[in-house]
Amino acid sequence: MKKIQNIITALFIALCFFGCEKDDICAGTTPTTPRLMIEFREKDNPAILKPVTDLKAEATGMTTAVVFNDGLASTDPKRYLTSANKIGLPLKITGGTVEYTLTQNSTNANPAIRNADKITFNYTTKEIYVSRACGYKTNFTLTDSPLQEPSSVDNSRWISNIVVETPNIETENEIHIKIYF
Protein backbone atom coordinates (compact mmCIF):
# COMPACT_ATOMS: atom_id res chain seq x y z
CA MET A 1 0.00 0.00 0.00
CA LYS A 2 2.84 2.37 0.84
CA LYS A 3 4.23 1.99 -2.66
CA ILE A 4 0.85 2.76 -4.21
CA GLN A 5 0.43 5.83 -2.07
CA ASN A 6 3.85 7.11 -3.04
CA ILE A 7 3.15 6.67 -6.71
CA ILE A 8 -0.24 8.35 -6.49
CA THR A 9 1.18 11.21 -4.45
CA ALA A 10 3.92 11.70 -7.02
CA LEU A 11 1.38 11.71 -9.85
CA PHE A 12 -0.77 14.19 -7.99
CA ILE A 13 2.10 16.56 -7.29
CA ALA A 14 3.27 16.33 -10.89
CA LEU A 15 -0.22 17.06 -12.19
CA CYS A 16 -0.60 20.03 -9.87
CA PHE A 17 2.80 21.34 -10.87
CA PHE A 18 1.93 21.26 -14.56
CA GLY A 19 -1.65 22.35 -14.03
CA CYS A 20 -0.62 25.44 -12.12
CA GLU A 21 1.90 26.66 -14.65
CA LYS A 22 1.61 30.37 -15.31
CA ASP A 23 1.24 31.77 -18.77
CA ASP A 24 4.42 32.95 -20.40
CA ILE A 25 5.34 36.60 -20.41
CA CYS A 26 7.25 38.07 -23.31
CA ALA A 27 10.76 38.53 -21.95
CA GLY A 28 12.37 41.92 -22.47
CA THR A 29 15.46 40.20 -23.81
CA THR A 30 13.55 38.63 -26.71
CA PRO A 31 14.23 40.55 -29.92
CA THR A 32 10.87 41.94 -31.01
CA THR A 33 9.93 44.94 -33.16
CA PRO A 34 13.14 46.98 -33.44
CA ARG A 35 13.54 50.74 -33.56
CA LEU A 36 15.55 52.52 -36.21
CA MET A 37 18.96 52.94 -34.57
CA ILE A 38 20.75 56.15 -35.44
CA GLU A 39 24.30 57.14 -34.58
CA PHE A 40 25.55 60.72 -34.66
CA ARG A 41 29.06 61.48 -35.87
CA GLU A 42 31.22 64.50 -36.45
CA LYS A 43 31.00 65.60 -40.10
CA ASP A 44 34.65 66.65 -40.30
CA ASN A 45 35.92 63.59 -38.50
CA PRO A 46 33.61 60.63 -39.26
CA ALA A 47 35.47 58.34 -36.88
CA ILE A 48 34.29 60.31 -33.88
CA LEU A 49 30.86 59.87 -32.28
CA LYS A 50 29.28 63.19 -31.44
CA PRO A 51 26.42 63.69 -28.99
CA VAL A 52 23.57 66.00 -29.98
CA THR A 53 22.69 68.56 -27.34
CA ASP A 54 19.08 68.37 -26.14
CA LEU A 55 17.83 66.42 -29.13
CA LYS A 56 14.10 66.09 -29.54
CA ALA A 57 12.47 63.77 -32.08
CA GLU A 58 8.86 64.11 -33.12
CA ALA A 59 7.06 62.46 -35.99
CA THR A 60 4.84 64.55 -38.22
CA GLY A 61 1.23 64.19 -37.14
CA MET A 62 2.08 63.35 -33.55
CA THR A 63 1.42 65.65 -30.61
CA THR A 64 4.14 64.30 -28.35
CA ALA A 65 7.79 63.65 -29.01
CA VAL A 66 9.56 60.31 -28.71
CA VAL A 67 10.26 59.41 -25.08
CA PHE A 68 13.96 59.12 -24.31
CA ASN A 69 13.76 59.07 -20.52
CA ASP A 70 11.18 56.52 -19.43
CA GLY A 71 11.70 57.22 -15.75
CA LEU A 72 10.54 60.84 -15.84
CA ALA A 73 6.97 62.07 -15.53
CA SER A 74 5.10 62.85 -18.73
CA THR A 75 4.95 66.51 -17.70
CA ASP A 76 8.74 66.75 -17.41
CA PRO A 77 10.18 68.17 -20.68
CA LYS A 78 13.40 66.23 -20.06
CA ARG A 79 11.45 63.01 -20.68
CA TYR A 80 11.55 63.78 -24.39
CA LEU A 81 15.17 64.95 -24.59
CA THR A 82 18.44 63.17 -25.04
CA SER A 83 22.03 64.23 -25.40
CA ALA A 84 23.30 60.87 -26.51
CA ASN A 85 25.25 60.02 -29.63
CA LYS A 86 22.92 57.13 -30.39
CA ILE A 87 19.12 57.04 -30.48
CA GLY A 88 16.35 54.65 -31.46
CA LEU A 89 13.32 55.94 -33.36
CA PRO A 90 10.11 53.86 -33.52
CA LEU A 91 8.69 53.25 -36.97
CA LYS A 92 5.02 52.67 -37.83
CA ILE A 93 4.40 48.93 -37.89
CA THR A 94 1.78 49.30 -40.60
CA GLY A 95 2.80 52.34 -42.58
CA GLY A 96 5.56 52.66 -45.15
CA THR A 97 6.60 56.26 -44.51
CA VAL A 98 7.47 58.24 -41.42
CA GLU A 99 8.68 61.82 -41.27
CA TYR A 100 10.63 62.84 -38.18
CA THR A 101 11.64 66.28 -37.04
CA LEU A 102 14.95 66.15 -35.21
CA THR A 103 15.55 69.28 -33.20
CA GLN A 104 19.01 70.17 -31.94
CA ASN A 105 19.35 72.41 -28.85
CA SER A 106 15.59 72.10 -28.52
CA THR A 107 15.45 73.83 -25.12
CA ASN A 108 17.49 76.81 -26.22
CA ALA A 109 15.50 80.03 -26.28
CA ASN A 110 17.53 81.44 -29.12
CA PRO A 111 15.89 80.42 -32.42
CA ALA A 112 19.24 80.79 -34.18
CA ILE A 113 20.70 77.98 -32.09
CA ARG A 114 17.58 75.84 -31.86
CA ASN A 115 17.46 73.98 -35.15
CA ALA A 116 14.88 71.54 -36.52
CA ASP A 117 15.54 69.26 -39.48
CA LYS A 118 13.01 67.03 -41.13
CA ILE A 119 13.91 63.57 -42.40
CA THR A 120 11.62 61.16 -44.23
CA PHE A 121 12.11 57.41 -43.95
CA ASN A 122 10.56 55.13 -46.56
CA TYR A 123 10.45 51.44 -45.79
CA THR A 124 8.66 48.16 -46.26
CA THR A 125 7.50 45.95 -43.40
CA LYS A 126 7.55 42.24 -42.77
CA GLU A 127 5.75 40.43 -39.97
CA ILE A 128 7.66 37.59 -38.36
CA TYR A 129 6.43 35.05 -35.82
CA VAL A 130 8.33 35.21 -32.52
CA SER A 131 6.72 33.04 -29.84
CA ARG A 132 3.55 32.24 -27.91
CA ALA A 133 4.18 35.01 -25.41
CA CYS A 134 5.46 37.66 -27.81
CA GLY A 135 3.26 36.97 -30.82
CA TYR A 136 4.65 38.57 -33.95
CA LYS A 137 7.18 41.30 -34.59
CA THR A 138 7.66 43.67 -37.50
CA ASN A 139 10.96 44.04 -39.28
CA PHE A 140 11.63 46.92 -41.64
CA THR A 141 13.66 47.45 -44.78
CA LEU A 142 14.59 50.96 -45.84
CA THR A 143 13.74 51.30 -49.50
CA ASP A 144 15.87 54.37 -50.16
CA SER A 145 18.21 56.80 -48.45
CA PRO A 146 16.38 58.88 -45.84
CA LEU A 147 15.30 62.14 -47.44
CA GLN A 148 16.25 65.44 -45.85
CA GLU A 149 14.02 68.41 -46.35
CA PRO A 150 15.60 70.30 -49.27
CA SER A 151 17.87 73.17 -48.31
CA SER A 152 15.63 75.44 -50.36
CA VAL A 153 12.94 74.89 -47.74
CA ASP A 154 15.15 74.67 -44.69
CA ASN A 155 18.16 76.88 -45.33
CA SER A 156 19.77 76.27 -41.96
CA ARG A 157 20.07 72.50 -41.78
CA TRP A 158 22.19 71.17 -38.93
CA ILE A 159 22.48 67.70 -40.43
CA SER A 160 25.09 67.62 -43.15
CA ASN A 161 24.85 64.05 -44.34
CA ILE A 162 22.84 60.85 -43.77
CA VAL A 163 24.29 57.44 -44.57
CA VAL A 164 22.43 54.14 -44.51
CA GLU A 165 24.58 51.62 -42.71
CA THR A 166 22.13 48.69 -42.80
CA PRO A 167 18.86 48.94 -44.70
CA ASN A 168 17.46 45.85 -42.94
CA ILE A 169 16.11 46.84 -39.54
CA GLU A 170 15.94 43.53 -37.67
CA THR A 171 17.71 44.16 -34.40
CA GLU A 172 18.55 47.09 -32.16
CA ASN A 173 22.04 45.74 -31.64
CA GLU A 174 23.31 47.37 -34.79
CA ILE A 175 23.32 50.86 -36.26
CA HIS A 176 21.06 51.34 -39.24
CA ILE A 177 21.77 54.97 -40.04
CA LYS A 178 24.67 57.33 -39.41
CA ILE A 179 24.00 61.05 -39.27
CA TYR A 180 26.93 63.42 -39.71
CA PHE A 181 26.72 66.99 -38.39
Binding site: L11, L15, C20, T32, P90, I93, E127
Partner: protein, 248 residues
Amino acid sequence: MKYTLKSIFNLALVLISLSAFAQDKKKDTIIPTTERYGLRVGTDLYKIARSIYDSDYKGFEITGDYRLTQKIYIAGEVGNENKTTDEPQLNFTTKGTYFKAGFDYNIYKNWLDMENMITLGMRYGFSSFTQELNSYSIYNPHPYFDESDVINVSRKYSGLSAHWVEFVAGVKAQVFDNFFMGFTLRMNRLVSNKKPSDFDNLYIPGFNRTYDGDFGVGFNYTVSYFIPIYKKQNLPKTEDKDKGKKKE
Protein backbone atom coordinates in the same frame (compact mmCIF):
# COMPACT_ATOMS: atom_id res chain seq x y z
CA MET B 1 -9.50 28.60 -10.73
CA LYS B 2 -9.90 26.05 -13.46
CA TYR B 3 -6.66 24.42 -12.33
CA THR B 4 -7.73 24.40 -8.70
CA LEU B 5 -10.95 22.60 -9.60
CA LYS B 6 -8.99 20.20 -11.73
CA SER B 7 -6.66 19.48 -8.82
CA ILE B 8 -9.52 18.94 -6.36
CA PHE B 9 -11.13 16.52 -8.76
CA ASN B 10 -7.80 14.72 -9.07
CA LEU B 11 -7.48 14.39 -5.34
CA ALA B 12 -11.03 13.10 -5.01
CA LEU B 13 -10.40 10.47 -7.65
CA VAL B 14 -7.16 9.42 -5.99
CA LEU B 15 -8.94 9.00 -2.67
CA ILE B 16 -11.71 6.97 -4.28
CA SER B 17 -9.11 4.75 -5.88
CA LEU B 18 -7.27 4.35 -2.58
CA SER B 19 -10.38 3.33 -0.70
CA ALA B 20 -11.03 0.73 -3.36
CA PHE B 21 -7.57 -0.70 -2.88
CA ALA B 22 -7.78 -0.59 0.90
CA GLN B 23 -10.57 -3.17 0.93
CA ASP B 24 -8.18 -5.75 -0.47
CA LYS B 25 -6.43 -6.31 2.83
CA LYS B 26 -9.14 -8.36 4.52
CA LYS B 27 -8.79 -11.30 2.18
CA ASP B 28 -5.56 -13.18 2.50
CA THR B 29 -5.09 -16.57 0.87
CA ILE B 30 -2.68 -18.12 -1.58
CA ILE B 31 -5.26 -20.08 -3.49
CA PRO B 32 -4.52 -19.99 -7.24
CA THR B 33 -6.94 -17.65 -8.93
CA THR B 34 -8.27 -17.43 -12.41
CA GLU B 35 -7.79 -14.14 -14.14
CA ARG B 36 -9.89 -12.73 -16.91
CA TYR B 37 -8.43 -11.64 -20.21
CA GLY B 38 -10.17 -9.43 -22.69
CA LEU B 39 -10.75 -6.11 -24.28
CA ARG B 40 -11.57 -2.91 -22.43
CA VAL B 41 -13.00 0.12 -24.20
CA GLY B 42 -13.70 3.47 -22.70
CA THR B 43 -13.82 7.20 -23.13
CA ASP B 44 -12.17 10.22 -21.61
CA LEU B 45 -14.70 11.96 -19.37
CA TYR B 46 -12.62 15.10 -19.09
CA LYS B 47 -12.80 15.81 -22.83
CA ILE B 48 -16.56 15.26 -22.83
CA ALA B 49 -17.06 17.48 -19.79
CA ARG B 50 -14.83 20.18 -21.18
CA SER B 51 -16.72 20.14 -24.48
CA ILE B 52 -19.80 21.09 -22.47
CA TYR B 53 -18.45 23.85 -20.23
CA ASP B 54 -15.75 25.34 -22.49
CA SER B 55 -17.18 26.98 -25.60
CA ASP B 56 -13.69 27.08 -27.14
CA TYR B 57 -13.25 23.33 -26.96
CA LYS B 58 -14.79 20.29 -28.63
CA GLY B 59 -13.16 16.94 -28.24
CA PHE B 60 -13.52 13.27 -27.47
CA GLU B 61 -11.28 10.31 -26.96
CA ILE B 62 -11.90 6.59 -27.22
CA THR B 63 -9.53 4.46 -25.18
CA GLY B 64 -8.90 0.77 -25.42
CA ASP B 65 -6.66 -1.91 -24.03
CA TYR B 66 -6.26 -5.63 -24.52
CA ARG B 67 -4.75 -7.87 -21.86
CA LEU B 68 -1.89 -9.71 -23.48
CA THR B 69 -0.20 -11.37 -20.51
CA GLN B 70 -0.78 -11.25 -16.78
CA LYS B 71 0.79 -7.83 -16.50
CA ILE B 72 1.07 -6.43 -20.00
CA TYR B 73 -1.76 -4.72 -21.83
CA ILE B 74 -1.70 -3.43 -25.39
CA ALA B 75 -3.24 0.01 -25.11
CA GLY B 76 -4.20 2.89 -27.31
CA GLU B 77 -6.30 5.99 -27.76
CA VAL B 78 -8.04 7.62 -30.71
CA GLY B 79 -9.40 11.13 -30.49
CA ASN B 80 -10.41 14.32 -32.16
CA GLU B 81 -10.04 17.86 -30.90
CA ASN B 82 -11.14 21.32 -31.99
CA LYS B 83 -9.70 23.94 -29.69
CA THR B 84 -9.44 27.70 -29.89
CA THR B 85 -6.55 29.02 -27.83
CA ASP B 86 -6.60 32.63 -26.73
CA GLU B 87 -3.23 33.99 -25.73
CA PRO B 88 -2.52 37.66 -25.00
CA GLN B 89 -0.72 38.00 -28.32
CA LEU B 90 -2.37 35.26 -30.38
CA ASN B 91 -5.71 33.62 -31.04
CA PHE B 92 -5.80 30.43 -33.05
CA THR B 93 -7.93 27.34 -33.64
CA THR B 94 -6.47 23.85 -33.85
CA LYS B 95 -8.45 21.01 -35.39
CA GLY B 96 -7.30 17.46 -35.85
CA THR B 97 -7.32 13.77 -35.13
CA TYR B 98 -4.81 11.68 -33.24
CA PHE B 99 -3.89 8.06 -32.66
CA LYS B 100 -1.81 6.61 -29.87
CA ALA B 101 -0.65 3.02 -29.53
CA GLY B 102 1.56 1.29 -26.99
CA PHE B 103 1.40 -0.79 -23.85
CA ASP B 104 0.65 -0.61 -20.15
CA TYR B 105 2.43 -2.66 -17.53
CA ASN B 106 0.43 -3.38 -14.38
CA ILE B 107 2.66 -3.02 -11.32
CA TYR B 108 -0.18 -3.58 -8.87
CA LYS B 109 -0.55 -7.03 -7.39
CA ASN B 110 -4.24 -7.76 -6.89
CA TRP B 111 -5.73 -9.93 -4.17
CA LEU B 112 -7.90 -12.78 -5.33
CA ASP B 113 -10.11 -11.76 -8.20
CA MET B 114 -9.66 -8.01 -7.93
CA GLU B 115 -8.74 -6.35 -11.19
CA ASN B 116 -7.41 -2.97 -10.17
CA MET B 117 -4.41 -1.56 -11.90
CA ILE B 118 -1.55 0.79 -11.35
CA THR B 119 0.19 0.99 -14.66
CA LEU B 120 3.30 2.34 -16.24
CA GLY B 121 3.45 2.39 -19.99
CA MET B 122 4.42 4.04 -23.20
CA ARG B 123 2.63 5.25 -26.30
CA TYR B 124 3.61 6.35 -29.74
CA GLY B 125 1.39 9.19 -30.85
CA PHE B 126 0.55 10.68 -34.21
CA SER B 127 -1.63 13.64 -35.02
CA SER B 128 -2.78 15.21 -38.27
CA PHE B 129 -4.23 18.66 -37.89
CA THR B 130 -4.74 22.22 -39.13
CA GLN B 131 -4.01 25.52 -37.41
CA GLU B 132 -6.06 28.61 -38.13
CA LEU B 133 -4.62 31.90 -36.97
CA ASN B 134 -7.59 34.13 -36.10
CA SER B 135 -5.76 37.20 -34.86
CA TYR B 136 -2.34 38.22 -33.66
CA SER B 137 -0.56 41.17 -32.15
CA ILE B 138 2.68 42.77 -33.17
CA TYR B 139 4.82 42.99 -30.06
CA ASN B 140 6.18 46.50 -29.94
CA PRO B 141 8.19 47.33 -26.82
CA HIS B 142 8.39 51.01 -27.83
CA PRO B 143 4.92 52.05 -28.96
CA TYR B 144 4.84 55.63 -30.18
CA PHE B 145 2.38 55.94 -33.03
CA ASP B 146 -1.33 55.66 -32.36
CA GLU B 147 -1.81 52.43 -34.22
CA SER B 148 -3.42 49.17 -33.30
CA ASP B 149 -1.04 46.28 -33.00
CA VAL B 150 -3.82 43.69 -33.23
CA ILE B 151 -4.22 42.23 -36.67
CA ASN B 152 -7.27 40.14 -37.50
CA VAL B 153 -6.67 37.55 -40.12
CA SER B 154 -7.99 34.18 -41.04
CA ARG B 155 -4.87 32.39 -42.03
CA LYS B 156 -5.19 28.64 -42.31
CA TYR B 157 -2.31 26.21 -42.22
CA SER B 158 -3.24 22.72 -43.38
CA GLY B 159 -1.42 19.44 -43.70
CA LEU B 160 0.39 19.72 -40.38
CA SER B 161 1.44 16.68 -38.40
CA ALA B 162 3.36 15.60 -35.33
CA HIS B 163 4.78 12.39 -33.92
CA TRP B 164 5.60 11.89 -30.29
CA VAL B 165 6.33 9.42 -27.51
CA GLU B 166 4.39 9.36 -24.24
CA PHE B 167 5.33 7.99 -20.86
CA VAL B 168 2.12 7.01 -19.13
CA ALA B 169 1.37 6.41 -15.46
CA GLY B 170 -2.14 5.56 -14.43
CA VAL B 171 -4.58 3.89 -12.10
CA LYS B 172 -7.75 1.99 -12.88
CA ALA B 173 -10.25 0.73 -10.35
CA GLN B 174 -13.21 -1.52 -10.97
CA VAL B 175 -16.17 0.43 -9.63
CA PHE B 176 -18.74 -2.26 -10.36
CA ASP B 177 -19.04 -5.31 -12.58
CA ASN B 178 -16.80 -4.78 -15.58
CA PHE B 179 -16.93 -1.00 -15.24
CA PHE B 180 -13.65 0.75 -14.53
CA MET B 181 -12.72 4.30 -13.68
CA GLY B 182 -9.25 5.60 -13.90
CA PHE B 183 -6.91 8.34 -14.80
CA THR B 184 -3.58 8.54 -16.49
CA LEU B 185 -0.89 11.17 -16.42
CA ARG B 186 1.36 11.52 -19.43
CA MET B 187 4.70 13.09 -20.16
CA ASN B 188 5.10 13.65 -23.88
CA ARG B 189 8.11 14.25 -26.04
CA LEU B 190 7.89 15.28 -29.67
CA VAL B 191 9.79 13.19 -32.19
CA SER B 192 8.83 15.22 -35.24
CA ASN B 193 6.74 18.29 -35.72
CA LYS B 194 5.72 19.76 -39.06
CA LYS B 195 5.22 23.46 -38.36
CA PRO B 196 3.64 26.19 -40.46
CA SER B 197 6.12 28.49 -42.18
CA ASP B 198 5.43 31.66 -40.21
CA PHE B 199 3.62 30.30 -37.18
CA ASP B 200 4.11 27.47 -34.70
CA ASN B 201 2.23 24.42 -33.44
CA LEU B 202 1.40 25.81 -30.03
CA TYR B 203 -1.28 23.17 -29.55
CA ILE B 204 -1.31 19.70 -31.04
CA PRO B 205 -4.39 17.45 -30.76
CA GLY B 206 -3.57 14.56 -28.42
CA PHE B 207 -0.25 16.10 -27.42
CA ASN B 208 -1.77 19.27 -25.94
CA ARG B 209 0.07 22.53 -25.38
CA THR B 210 3.64 22.61 -26.57
CA TYR B 211 6.29 24.19 -24.41
CA ASP B 212 9.68 25.52 -25.39
CA GLY B 213 11.55 22.44 -26.37
CA ASP B 214 9.78 19.21 -27.23
CA PHE B 215 7.98 18.43 -23.98
CA GLY B 216 4.32 18.29 -23.19
CA VAL B 217 1.98 16.83 -20.61
CA GLY B 218 -1.41 15.25 -20.74
CA PHE B 219 -3.93 13.34 -18.70
CA ASN B 220 -7.29 11.69 -19.02
CA TYR B 221 -10.07 10.45 -16.75
CA THR B 222 -11.55 7.37 -18.20
CA VAL B 223 -14.63 5.32 -17.70
CA SER B 224 -14.35 1.98 -19.45
CA TYR B 225 -16.11 -1.33 -19.88
CA PHE B 226 -14.31 -4.66 -19.82
CA ILE B 227 -15.38 -7.34 -22.31
CA PRO B 228 -14.09 -10.69 -21.03
CA ILE B 229 -12.82 -13.00 -23.76
CA TYR B 230 -11.13 -15.89 -21.92
CA LYS B 231 -9.82 -16.91 -18.49
CA LYS B 232 -6.43 -18.11 -17.42
CA GLN B 233 -5.37 -19.67 -14.12
CA ASN B 234 -2.82 -17.75 -12.17
CA LEU B 235 -0.61 -20.02 -10.04
CA PRO B 236 1.27 -18.81 -6.94
CA LYS B 237 4.18 -16.49 -7.64
CA THR B 238 7.01 -19.06 -7.31
CA GLU B 239 5.63 -21.17 -10.11
CA ASP B 240 4.26 -18.31 -12.05
CA LYS B 241 6.04 -19.07 -15.29
CA ASP B 242 4.61 -19.41 -18.73
CA LYS B 243 4.49 -23.21 -18.51
CA GLY B 244 2.38 -22.96 -15.34
CA LYS B 245 -0.37 -21.08 -17.07
CA LYS B 246 -3.30 -22.98 -18.37
CA LYS B 247 -6.20 -21.94 -20.45
CA GLU B 248 -9.55 -22.93 -19.11
